[in-house]
């Protein structure tokens, strides 16, 4: 058979299957595909198996010996030989009707969840493949069985019914209602999304699926995504992960973000996590946790770079190269004395345009604008805007440098306030 046949999953489900003598051998319940994208370089998973119901028994057969033929729009399914699938093959398959049809999947280009109205498949000489998902109104109406009359009506008015397909390589399936699935799905395609987009998607998923997707991310990505999640989802995920795994993710995050999350958790759980985390990180977090909500201390980042005023630019560059700080940490660099009392600030720009032998005290700006750690947050936005700052140093009452508040955190706080006012 060299002809190409395309068909919809919904047209197959519930169809009768015949052997080549035309004798009824069962009804189609589901199609099984290989969920691992590394096994299908074309991006289209091959249909491996078929679930058939005969009288009251469900059986799984290899799809190789099944042929789907379309004559005048009518579909017939013919089976030449019944070869049962092994338990292992069944367990490592994804059920198209059960796990994809009517479920939510991730549209990678639109970076959002969409609901699947139908799946389009194609049979060519090398096998049958799932090529696209239908998320349009046409697919919905086809399922209900009223697409033809409506198309006719729309045609009378010169209109069309909008249809919308997404190619299989541009989607990632999420939900496994198949409890037997053995392999842990990699969600490889999701790793390409921006952490913020991924966070939005995970927030919209159900309880089970959100943990499942999150657990599949690698630690770096997981930490980035965790930062972007809303508090409720953060709490939910941290409570469903194992303590070790959760602590590993938190270790990779900035201390101020961790402190915010732990604040929302129950005290016991937070304590468990702190004990499991690495010593230096948890120490930083504990210091931040002391600050009450609505104080500068609770939103400040404790990752700052401070130098002695006698150090040269060369020394500064050396240290920056060695420590490789995050981008945010470079918003502002600080000068402190031996007791870590804040003296002045300087910027990366100052460093870049100065020659290596210049001392910091020659370029630094003394008596900088600063905040106190117990100061109220709502005063910060004004100061940021008044002095055009990206980051403001935070000191305690002895003027010891404790951290800095970064403009992102101020904006985040403002947005949160606006939201809760709604």
């Amino acid at each position: 058979m060299t002809s190409i046949t395309t068909f919809y999953l919904s047209r197959i489900i519930g169809q009768k299957v015949q052997d080549h003598y035309g004798i009824y051998i069962g009804t189609v319940k589901d199609l099984l595909v290989d969920p691992d994208p590394s096994n299908y370089p074309t991006g289209h998973p091959v249909v491996k198996g078929i679930k058939i119901k005969y009288s009251k028994n469900n059986s799984f057969y290899s799809f190789e010996n099944f042929h789907i033929e379309k004559v005048d729009g009518n579909i017939t399914i013919i089976c030449e030989q019944l070869v049962e699938l092994s338990k292992d093959e069944i367990a490592n398959s994804m059920y198209l009707a059960d796990a994809v049809l009517d479920n939510q999947i991730v549209d990678l280009n639109g970076r959002k969840l969409v609901r699947v109205n139908d799946v389009r498949l194609v049979t060519i000489s090398s096998g049958t493949f799932a090529v696209a998902v239908d998320i349009g109104i046409e697919g919905l109406l086809r399922r209900i069985g009223i697409v033809k009359p409506l198309k006719f009506l729309a045609g009378l008015w010169g209109g069309t019914i909008p249809s919308k397909f997404i190619l299989w390589e541009d989607v990632e399936t999420i939900d496994f209602s198949n409890l037997n699935i053995k392999l842990s799905k990699s969600y490889a395609k999701l790793q390409t999304l921006h952490p913020s987009d991924l966070a939005d998607i995970i927030e919209d998923l159900g309880r089970k699926a959100s943990t499942q997707v999150f657990s599949a991310l690698d630690e770096e990505k997981a930490a980035d995504v965790m930062e972007e999640l809303d508090t409720e989802t953060q709490v939910h995920i941290l409570e469903s992960l194992s303590i070790e795994k959760a602590a590993d993710v938190l270790d990779k995050m900035p201390a101020d973000e961790v402190a915010d999350i732990l604040d929302a958790l129950e005290d016991d759980r937070a304590e468990q996590l702190l004990n499991e985390m690495e010593k230096d990180t948890s120490q930083e977090v504990r210091e931040l946790l002391v600050y009450p909500d609505h104080t500068v201390g609770s939103i400040m980042s404790s990752e700052v770079m401070s130098f002695n005023q006698n150090a040269t630019i060369e020394k500064v560059l050396e240290e920056l190269r060695e420590k490789k700080p995050e981008f945010e940490t470079l918003y502002n660099l600080f000068v402190t004395d031996d007791n870590e009392v804040l003296l002045a600030t300087f910027s990366v720009r100052d460093v870049v345009i100065s020659s290596p032998d210049v001392q910091i005290k020659q370029i630094m700006k003394p008596s900088p604008v600063h905040l106190r750690d117990y100061q109220k947050i709502n005063e910060v936005a004004e100061i940021v805007s008044k002095y055009n700052l990206l980051a403001i140093p935070v000191v305690d009452k002895k003027n010891v440098l404790k951290g800095m508040v970064v403009i992102d955190d101020v904006i985040e706080d403002l947005i949160k306030k606006r939201r809760t006012n709604k």
């Binding site: 109205n117 919905l140 159900g206 309880r207 809760t420």
Partner: protein, 413 residues
């Protein structure tokens, strides 16, 4: 002692944070349609049908508890779950029904706005467009959360029905007797009334609303007990308000043989019998309840329909991102308000039929819910206990029997 006190306040704090879904749902429950049904039932049957509030209460608690549990365990809306497990066709049937019934209900809410303002001498041609636009503006401009809280505060004013009821000097002895010895006549009118009473107390769309608000609150299984208290408080409030509305109307209208068709009639009829104040209190309660429900109902309906069919939805989305949602929302609101402004619109017909559709939908939604909440794949260890199943299936069977009886009885009488 001090520690106990601290833990008491901590618990109270947790409760207040969780508070909401059940109580808001309970308040929306006594909407214009509800008030109308209670008033009419009491005007016709006096205290005789007050007993229906007790089984309604039990079923209401059981159903809302299931919704809360499903929301907490799955984190998915009821519309999502039905679509994913029951397929497109059943989903389509439920949501077309829900859409039609809710347009009808929204119309009833605007009828409540119009009627209550007429008691205060404001023409419906002024009150309905203003209120309609206000609601639309409130939601689309995204101040919905504030509005919800204000309404919640206002809904306390529904307790003013207690005042209305007491001013009508009810016979408490007779009321007690009527509750202890429930009476029921087997004729079409009485059966329809009972279905109406149960149907307005347990409206199908509320199940969707309840589950979504539990998810929005981000409740967890640890907070389940507080959530349960919230539900019980909400249901008690619903039934108490309904009780006093029925008492107010039964002890005045029924005793004097006054028949009414609308809640507004009840407010007007109360004036000579219980005084102008009682009448105004009744009308004010109706006004608040109508606006509250007219805000939530179209919004909720648009949301669930979009959820089920996979369109973007939510008031935090922009018009272009969620076109279907906003078009649907605006459409329901406009149609609902416009019908009221048509002279001689068949309001009673509309309110009756939206109740009947609700009554037909309710068993379907309940059967879906019962199957979902007993599905181990979805609920894990939190599937229904035998008691829940007994009451749940019992309610389904009784509701179906009542609906069937309503269809059959007219042929015998």
């Amino acid at each position: 002692m001090f520690r106990n006190k601290k833990s008491f306040f901590k618990k109270l704090g947790i409760f207040l944070a969780i508070l909401g879904p059940g109580i808001i749902t309970g308040s929306v429950d006594n909407d214009a349609g509800g008030i109308t049904t209670y008033s009419v039932a009491a005007a016709v049957y006096g205290y005789n049908l007050i007993w229906t509030l007790i089984p309604s209460f039990i079923v209401l608690v059981v159903i809302q508890e299931m919704n809360a549990r499903m929301g907490i365990v799955t984190g998915k809306g009821l519309a999502d779950l039905i679509r994913e497990n029951a397929g497109v066709k059943i989903t389509f049937f439920i949501f077309i029904g829900l859409l039609i019934a809710d347009v009808g209900n929204t119309t009833t809410e605007f009828a409540g706005v119009a009627g209550s303002m007429e008691v205060f001498g404001v023409s419906k041609y002024i009150s309905v467009p203003i209120v309609g636009f206000m609601i639309w503006f409130l939601v689309v401009k995204g101040t919905y959360k504030i509005a919800e809280r204000i309404f919640l505060l206002f809904s306390v004013s529904l307790l003013m029905y207690v005042v209305s009821a007491i001013m009508g000097k009810p016979h408490w002895g007779e009321i007690g007797h009527a509750i202890i010895h429930p009476q029921m006549e087997f004729n079409a009118q009485s059966l329809a009334m009972i279905i109406g009473l149960v149907g307005t107390t347990i409206a199908p769309w509320m199940q969707f609303y309840m589950q979504s608000s539990v998810i929005e609150k981000g409740l967890k299984m640890k907070q389940y007990n507080y959530s349960l208290i919230d539900i019980v408080v909400g249901c008690v409030a619903t039934v108490v308000v309904a009780f006093f509305i029925m008492v107010a109307c039964a002890s005045t209208l029924h005793v004097n043989g006054i028949q009414i068709n609308e809640a507004k009639d009840a407010a007007l009829a109360l004036k000579p019998l219980a005084g102008a104040f009682a009448s105004q209190v009744f009308a004010f309660g109706l006004f608040i309840a109508s606006i509250f429900s007219a805000t939530i109902l179209p919004l909720a309906t648009a949301f669930y329909v979009c959820e089920a069919f996979g369109f973007e939805a939510g008031i935090d989305k922009k018009w272009n991102e969620a076109k279907e949602f906003y078009v649907l929302y605006t459409g329901i609101l406009i149609v609902g308000a416009a019908i009221i402004l048509v002279p001689n619109a068949p309001l009673i017909f509309i309110s009756l039929w939206s109740q009947v559709i609700n009554g037909m939908l309710l068993p379907v939604v309940l059967v879906c819910m019962m199957l979902l909440v007993n599905n181990k794949k979805i609920m894990g260890k939190y599937v229904n206990k035998p008691v829940n199943n007994l009451i749940g299936w019992g309610a389904v069977i009784i509701l179906i029997a009542l609906s069937l009886a309503l269809l059959v009885v007219p042929f015998f009488s």
